[in-house]
Each structure stands twice: as structure tokens, then as C-alpha cells.
Symmetry: C2
């Protein structure tokens, strides 16, 4: 990585360094939402710099409440916008220095869901999580199902209930039947959980019947976000056989507001775990397609400070995004710009790296403590869950900010 | 039902009688798609009659490539449009008689997907189908899973690959592992199937956290369509545990182009099957919410005439649409206008009423014959599957037309 300097003040350890420049949708006061790029503690108003003639994309694509139309312009254009902004923020005689009006403080901005999500798919690609979940939901002796090492297992999720970070969520009600009950009851979920995930945003559509190879998959990935796949374990457990998770998940999923481009993450590529047995040809890949992104989950009650309850890493994924995308399209299923594919819970080998409370409290059997001394197995009302993630190498940091959400009592 | 007469020529046994008047999106030649109502063998151009001042909705809502914005106006308006059209087609001194230009022959029109489907949910609400599938996919002795009589089981499907009737579909490729194989192989699906379903189109959105009762559910249902949930059984069988059907379904689902309103179906309401054990309160309902809609599935090869291979009825559903919608929102999941919820395969008790080839050929063990003498267990390349449905009472017929699709060889 070439070393770059920006004349904008960027705090040490900021996720939004000159190397990052993620895209998002923001608004100020009652103004209409529009596209921006984050730098340090500020946002560059992309429509405003377009109108100054400083980037080669019409402002009409940027004065939108989602990034879908902008992303649809294609990587040749969206990458150029990012690189042009990088240069405008780096060069000594930058014309932006005379245009402080194009900068908005992140403190003054409201962030919105960055894309309209047409379809949302959730994978299940961490071998540690799949093994842990299998032990608890099914048979401890045969935790990993026979198909798991052959297929990046996934399912269709609910797109309508994806919300942006900071949105409060009411505890879901639903049908629950525990082993000691004769019949199910209708109640507020008692085992409310999070899932630490990352999601990628599709950047290039495909036609029905079109397959994307692992080799070409990166062309179809615009960028990544942090993703919290909130899960009501008691509802899920009773409903999920045989057609999979439904209401245990569809009450809400939370997404971080800044989409970090695949290009910004390029320096942080690493080799993924060895895949044994060998996968079918359409899932084989060349090169490094895992990403070394440090992740953490923090939890707080309404009275406590944050407690870090998990430290994981996106590099643990058994199945990488190129394989997920190749698999998703191998039957001819079409993709649209803005579709989100999430990784599934990202757990590592150590207990300290588990990505859900199901695993951390081992199905509710092992309580843990928050900073105020209160005990938790699952999420209680008014608890806040915050996930953060960043990649760092040679002192250069590219981060995601955070995805946070507070659980309110049931309605 | 009051008896109505129309001055438009409507063939005997037409699905699109004066009592029906379903909404759809059509185009002629290279003109932009727009909204229409079917009557007999013709389509009324709604934008055109709006511009004549004959219906009280602005043409801008009707000159659209989907019905979403029109439906979003609410039932008070959309029902009035349908009733106003009914009157215009019934009265002797109708101003439409002088405006033949507002009628388009269905033969000359191309039909489009009537709505943009934000989210698509597929239920599994026929007890006969769930029992048959359970016997073949799982344990013949415990075919119906313990949750089935308590929950209208459903899962999220893929919205992007829903296509309008008449769209050809390529046989999907995918991973398959039969019991005699040591490892999975990548191949064209050998067990390609249809599922005879009906779907309803959501007509009124809800907010995240909002629950809809069975009593209010009808307000949120705009109308119904025929729905073919194409299924690759071999792909499905290997992939579906534990997170449900995915690529075995997402290559395509086909929908009939005319949305028959819930109001047009009102006279055909019947009592549903008794539900035992008693369901939880939020699933209880009053009145009749099943619909007596006769359904048939026909199949033909490229050289044969159609063979009717199933005759079923929508009234067989164990779980009704009001229960499905109440269940779907009970956790606070939000709905958008245009969302589609499909019934799941509609099978009756008799073999002649099974709604999928999985059941008709009993997992491939019982071949059946087409009119050209060729045998089938599953769908072969160049076969066409056509589903039709109508309700009829006192000589008054309200039908759906058809949903048809031809399977082309794998790409």
C-alpha cells in the first residue's frame, strides 16, 4: 500500500482513514437523504462535489435515498469516484480546501440504510458456529451435517425488516414450546440473541439463468457491512423444522451504515482454512479470498458500561464470499444490485471468539457478567448490542464503524 | 350475488366474467406497460379510461410497469375503480360504447409480472401435502412434524426469480447426492417438479413491530394469483437440512398475470377443515376463510396434447390466508405492498388431487402417461406445465386464467 496523507483531520485509529472511504446515505436536519463518503469524523457530500464538477458522475445519482442507482453505474465508475475523492483529500492544492460546505460532521448527520435490499440471503459459513449450533440444536455426536463441507449452506431471509444501525428493536412475540411443555405457548421470546455477521452488497446484477464463477464473483461484490442477525432462539427452535428459520429471525436484522468497498479491503486478504474433502469444481477458487477483519461484540445494560463479550475475525470463515456467490447463482438464480448476502455467525475456535449468545452462554447454561455485575445468558430488555470491525496492516486502518441496536420490551 | 349483464361479448365459461374484473399489467407492441382489467377476451386500458374522466384515479398511477403504487392507494380506491368499471361495462348507456380504443384484445397484449415483489414467503399449509412430503423426505411413521398443527409453517423464498406466466425456464444445475453416492455431484436436476399453489398479494403495508389480527388480515390482502413453485427435488433433498429449501427453489417461480381481488372471491368462501388440536388465540378466526377454487394441472410434451394430471381445490387448505398473515406479522415483521405469500402445494386426499409430481409419481416410483404415450415421473426437457383455476357458483364464474411455463434444457 502506498502511503497517503490527507489534509483533513483524521483521529488516530479512525475506521474512516484515507485508505477506506466507504459509501453511505446520510441526511442533515430535515433535508432529503443523499450519498456521502466518510473521512475521519466527517462526511463528504458527494452530490455537492459532483455539482462542483470534481467527480465524473452526475449529481442525480447521488441525490437519492439509496445507493442502488449509483452502484448500478458499475465498478469502473464507482471505483473512480472513490479514487478521485482520495486524491482530492490527499493533494496539497486540493480545490476542496476552499469548499468547507461539502463537509458535514458525522455528529450532525443521520445515517440511513445505504441500499434498498431486494433479496437477503443468510449463509452459515463458519464451521465453528455450525458445529456449536448443531451440538445444541441437534445431535452433539454428529453436530456438522453431511452436506456442510460440500455446500455453503444458506437460506433466504426477510429483506423488509433489515434496519440501519441505531434502530431500536422490540422483543418479538411468538410461539414457543420447550421440551417440558405439552403444548406451545404464545409469549415474548425469552432467548433473544444476536449473531455477529458480515454482509456483502451485490454490485452487479445477473440475468435469470446466468451463473457467476468464483473467478468473476468479485465483480459482483460492491462492498461489505457489519450485520447483526438478531435471533429469537426459542421461536426458532420450535418453528425451524423442516423449512428453516422464519419468525425467529424476520423481526429485524441490523446493518452498519457505511459500505466498505471490496477494493478498500484488498490489502487485508488472507488465505482461508483448508477445505476437506475437496469441493466440487464450481466451488474451487484461486488466490486469497478471506479477509483479516477483527470483530468484536459489546453488550451493555441501560445502567452499565459496555462489556466486550466476543472477539472474532472474519478470516475464520470456512466458505468465502466468492464461493457463496458462485453457489447462489449456480442454479441460475438472478441477483440484483443491493441484494445482501450475509456470512452467518462468525465464530472462532476459542470460547472468547464465539459470535452468538447461544454459543457464549452455551444454550443458557453458562451465564456471564456485564460491567455492572448483572448476569446474562440471553439479551434482556433495554440491553444494547454493538458490533465493531476493522482491518489493520502497517499502521493503515480500514474499519466499518459499528452496528448497534437496543432491545425494547415487547409491544 | 346480484345478476349482472355486460354489453361486452364474454364467451361462455370465460374466467374473466363481469363478476371478476382482475387487475394486471399489459403492453402492446413496444408501448410501455400499464394497468388493465380483464373482461372476456379483452383488456380495458385503465389509464385510458382515467384520462376520459370515467374513473376517479389519476392516470399516473396506472401508467406504471407494476401495480404497486395503484394498490398502495388502498382498497377504498381500488375497489371503487373495480366497481366503477363493472358499472361502465354493465349499463346500457355506457360512455365506453363510444370508446372502442380503450379495449385491447388479450391476443395482442403481452402480460407482465403484475407487481414488484419485495419479499416472497412460501407456506406449507396443506396437511395432505405436508404428510405426503414428510413420508418421502423423512419418516413415514411420523410424517407430520410436531409443530405442523400449531404453526402455519413457512419460509422466506427468493423474490427476484418470480416470473410471469409464459416465461421459459432452464432446468437448474446443482449439487445432488443420492443415497447410493459416496460424494455429491454437480449435474442438471433429474427430479424437476412443479408445486400447484395459490399466492396472495399484500395490499396494505405494515410497520416494523405491528401485528395484524386474523380479523383484520383481509384488509391487507389485495388479491390472489396462481403460483407454480418449481422445485428441483434432488437439489432440495441434499441442501435443505437444517436451514430449509434454497437453490432447489430459487431458480424460478411462476405467477399468473391477473390478480383476482379478494372482493371478487367473496361469494366463494367456504368453511375450512376443523383444526385439531385447538390453535393458539392469535391464530383463531371467525367466519369462513377458505375459498372454493377448482384447480387443475396439465402437462404436455413438445409433441403431445395436454394431459390433466391433477384436479385439486384451494378449499383443502388447513391453514387459511388470514392465519398465515397473522402468523407472519406476530413477531413484528413488516409487510410491503406487493409482497407475495404463497400457500404451499395444494393437495387433496385423493391421489388424483395431488399438487406435485413428488406426490403424483410417489417420489418417482409410479410413472404416469402423457397423451402421446410417453411416461413421466418428473418433468423432462421441453415439457410444459399449465395450471388453471376458477370459482363457480350459480353459473357465475370468477377465474384466474393460467400460469404456464416450459422447461428448457440446462444452460
Amino acid at each position: 500500500m502506498t502511503t497517503l496523507k490527507t489534509w483533513v483531520t483524521v483521529p488516530h485509529n479512525s475506521d474512516f482513514s484515507i485508505y477506506n472511504l466507504p459509501f453511505g446515505i446520510f441526511s442533515v436536519n430535515d433535508d432529503a437523504p443523499k450519498a456521502g463518503i466518510a473521512i475521519g469524523e466527517q462526511i463528504i457530500d458527494l452530490a455537492a462535489i459532483s455539482e462542483l464538477g470534481l467527480i465524473a458522475v452526475d449529481a442525480s445519482y447521488l441525490k437519492q435515498k439509496t445507493l442502488n442507482e449509483f452502484i448500478s453505474l458499475g465498478k469502473k465508475i464507482t471505483n473512480k469516484v472513490r479514487l478521485d475523492v482520495q486524491q482530492l483529500l490527499s493533494i496539497e492544492n486540493s480545490p476542496l480546501k476552499n469548499h468547507s460546505e461539502v463537509f458535514v460532521s458525522q455528529k450532525d448527520a443521520k445515517m440511513h440504510l445505504p441500499v434498498h435490499v431486494g433479496d437477503y440471503t443468510d449463509f452459515y459459513s463458519s464451521i465453528e458456529h455450525a458445529t456449536n449450533a448443531g451440538k445444541m440444536f441437534r445431535d452433539p455426536e454428529n453436530a456438522l451435517l453431511p452436506n456442510w463441507r460440500h455446500i455453503p449452506v444458506g437460506y433466504h431471509g426477510r429483506a423488509s425488516s433489515i434496519v440501519v444501525s441505531g434502530t431500536d428493536i422490540h422483543r418479538p412475540m411468538g410461539q414457543v414450546k420447550t421440551n417440558d411443555m405439552e403444548v406451545p405457548v404464545f409469549k415474548a421470546s425469552g432467548n433473544l440473541d444476536f449473531e455477529l455477521e458480515m454482509g456483502f452488497v451485490v454490485g452487479k446484477s445477473t440475468e435469470l439463468g446466468e451463473r457467476v464463477s468464483t473467478k468473476n464473483a468479485a465483480d459482483h461484490i460492491f462492498g461489505l457491512v457489519l450485520f447483526n442477525d438478531w435471533s429469537a432462539r426459542d421461536i426458532q427452535k420450535w418453528e425451524y423444522v423442516p423449512l428453516g428459520p422464519f419468525l425467529g429471525k424476520s423481526f429485524a436484522s441490523s446493518m452498519s451504515p457505511w459500505i466498505v468497498t471490496l477494493e478498500a479491503l484488498e490489502p487485508f486478504k488472507v488465505q482461508g482454512p483448508e477445505q476437506q474433502p475437496e469441493v466440487l469444481s464450481y466451488l474451487k477458487y484461486e488466490g486469497e479470498h478471506n479477509y483479516d477483519i477483527k470483530l468484536e461484540v459489546c453488550m451493555s445494560s441501560s445502567t452499565s458500561e459496555e462489556t466486550t463479550i466476543s472477539r472474532s475475525n472474519f478470516k475464520y470463515m470456512y466458505w468465502n464470499m466468492m464461493q457463496q456467490l458462485a453457489h447462489h447463482t449456480v442454479n441460475g438464480c438472478n441477483l440484483n444490485v443491493g441484494d445482501v448476502m450475509a456470512s452467518g455467525t462468525i465464530s472462532g475456535k476459542d470460547e472468547s471468539s464465539y459470535g452468538s449468545l447461544l454459543e457464549i452462554s452455551w444454550g443458557g447454561k453458562k451465564p456471564f457478567e456485564l460491567k455492572d455485575g448483572s448476569k446474562r445468558t440471553f439479551i434482556e430488555d433495554n440491553d444494547t448490542v454493538t458490533m465493531r470491525g476493522f482491518a489493520e496492516k502497517d499502521g493503515k486502518r480500514v474499519g466499518f464503524g459499528q452496528v448497534t441496536g437496543t432491545i425494547l420490551p415487547s409491544k
